[in-house]
């Protein structure tokens, strides 16, 4: 249901602008992650370089969103759902900026891996990538559509991503012992797994902020009840 307009048209415009910047930042972050992972899987240094360069624009958007958010708080003193949306937008931008940093980190590691023969253990990263990206997309979807149930469902999925990372790490450590000549490569893959696990953490944070914005419920730091 579309909420009725504010009597102050400038208030609606400011909120719409803030929301649009958040969506733009989410799109750029998704693109950056996509480029970094393609740079890894397709061994494409150009894609890696582009992903690293993307970070500057995303950083500037974070600053703009924070500035616009504070401006709205100052000028309009929002309450209730308006206040929750502004606060959540500012928190989201922080999580998106950190996700973009992870994309940059992945791209840097991928460039190093690209200079060495491909490792079959790259396959360990594939399910982690899929899980992290799906969590990210769904968390943004939950925010955009104010879908509380979708937001709640993302939290247990992070446990699955953590487990995939643990399995991958154990395997890579085993391979390091078996094939020490490729130690650097296995280490870089472990770090990439860690960066993807952090992407999942940030997606979880975004989902929690989406639930708060929509329903004024703080679902952070609750006991884990089971992964899906």
């Amino acid at each position: 249901m579309i909420a009725p307009k504010h009597i102050l048209g400038t208030f609606d415009e400011a909120l719409a602008s803030l929301r649009n910047n958040v969506l733009m930042m989410a799109g750029l972050t998704e693109r950056s992650l996509d480029r970094a992972m393609k740079g890894l899987f397709q061994r494409d240094d150009n894609l890696c370089a582009t992903a690293i360069a993307d970070d500057e624009e995303i950083d500037q958007l974070e600053k703009q969103i924070d500035k616009d958010g504070v401006d709205i708080l100052l000028r309009f003193q929002p309450v209730a759902s308006d206040l929750r949306r502004v606060v959540s937008a500012m928190k989201l931008s922080s999580n998106l900026e950190r996700m973009a940093d992870q994309a940059t980190n992945i791209a840097r590691r991928a460039r190093k891996l690209n200079h060495h023969p491909p490792l079959p253990e790259m396959e360990l990263i594939v399910p982690m990538h899929e899980q992290a990206i799906s969590m990210f997309k769904d968390s943004i979807d939950a925010y955009v559509r104010e879908d509380v149930e979708l937001g709640r469902a993302i939290v247990p999925r992070d446990e699955k991503l953590d487990e995939l990372n643990r399995v991958a790490s154990r395997r890579l450590i085993q391979r390091m012992a078996e094939d020490p000549d490729q130690l650097r490569g296995y280490l870089n893959l472990m770090f990439i797994g860690r960066h993807l696990e952090r992407v999942g953490d940030h997606a979880t944070n975004i989902a929690e902020d989406a639930v708060y914005a929509a329903a004024a419920e703080d679902i952070r730091h609750q006991p884990f009840v089971g992964a899906t």
């Binding site: 909420a3 009725p4 307009k5 504010h6 009597i7 102050l8 208030f11 309009f76 003193q77 929002p78 309450v79 209730a80 759902s81 308006d82 206040l83 929750r84 004024a216």
Partner: protein, 280 residues
């Protein structure tokens, strides 16, 4: 660099309690004013419909709502100021103050208005000295001993955060004070007769921001000793000063609850639309 863990004076001794937006800050509050199924008319025109709410003692309750919603009418019911208006009368329900029906036939209305003081939108000091503004109510109540009056004047002016500004000119005419000082004088005047409840009808609407801030700070200090009910058009003020907020519309109480809940997650869409500026 010294570890923070070795600096106990910096670290809190206990983790802060997670606040519950639905519960009042202190669990020991009791109900002071009970409005039950109240209907009120000006002649044939019904202006309050079936209003029920309970105001806690030693807490601040704010009434908000668009103009004409009945919030000032309800406020004036609590000390029966509406009795002074021709054809204005309660047509249903009751108001109890600390368990006593304030509309009982044998109730002493003068004593009610001593127990339930009122501060108005436009400050209205008497055209007398500052001292006489405070002492008038005491003399009417039968206090004659000069030392006792002196003590009460100083006490109430201190309670209203005005003593330091006027202690050297108590004999001066109160109309010479600034708007903010006059309003604090009116509060002191109400406090002098030792009320239990203080009603405030938009007490800051005619004041500049600094005077407003001083009144709000005063309300914050008084809330530990008095039950305060405030009508305000300024929602940010309601958010700052009150513990509980009631939203009124067209003579009905739409929603009542802790101020934190009303302003962060109201239960009624009408409340949300009003406080976010989507209607009103």
């Amino acid at each position: 660099m010294v570890s923070l863990l070795k600096m106990p004076e910096i670290l809190p001794r206990e983790l802060p309690r997670q606040s519950d937006p639905a519960a009042p800050e202190e669990a020991t509050k009791t109900m002071m004013i009970d409005v039950c199924d109240l209907d009120f008319n000006y002649g044939e025109h019904r202006v309050l419909h079936d209003v029920s709410l309970q105001m806690q003692s030693r807490a601040v309750t704010a009434f908000i709502g668009p103009s004409g919603c009945g919030k000032t009418t309800l406020l004036r019911c609590i000390n029966r100021m509406n009795d002074l208006i021709e054809n204005a009368h309660i047509t249903g329900g009751a108001i109890h103050l600390d368990g006593t029906d304030i509309n009982a036939p044998d109730l002493d209305v003068v004593d009610l208005r001593r127990r339930v003081g009122m501060v108005f939108q436009k400050s209205n000091p008497f055209p007398k000295s500052i001292y006489e503004n405070i002492s008038y109510g005491l003399r009417i109540a039968g206090v004659t001993k000069r030392s006792r009056i002196d003590e009460a004047v100083e006490k109430s002016l201190r309670a209203a955060a005005l003593w330091d500004e006027v202690k050297d000119r108590l004999e001066k005419n109160a109309l010479g004070l600034s708007g903010g000082q006059q309003q604090r004088l009116c509060i002191a005047r109400a406090l002098a007769v030792e009320p239990e409840v203080v009603l405030m009808d938009e007490p800051c609407s005619a004041l500049d921001p600094i005077a407003t801030a001083k009144i709000e700070e005063l309300i914050h200090q008084l809330r530990t000793q008095y039950t305060i009910v405030i009508v305000t058009h300024n929602m940010q003020q309601a958010g700052r000063v009150s513990d509980y907020t009631g939203f009124f519309y067209l003579g009905r109480l739409i929603e009542f609850g802790s101020t934190t809940k009303i302003f962060t997650n109201p239960g009624q869409k009408q409340t949300e639309d009003y406080i976010t500026g989507r209607f009103g």
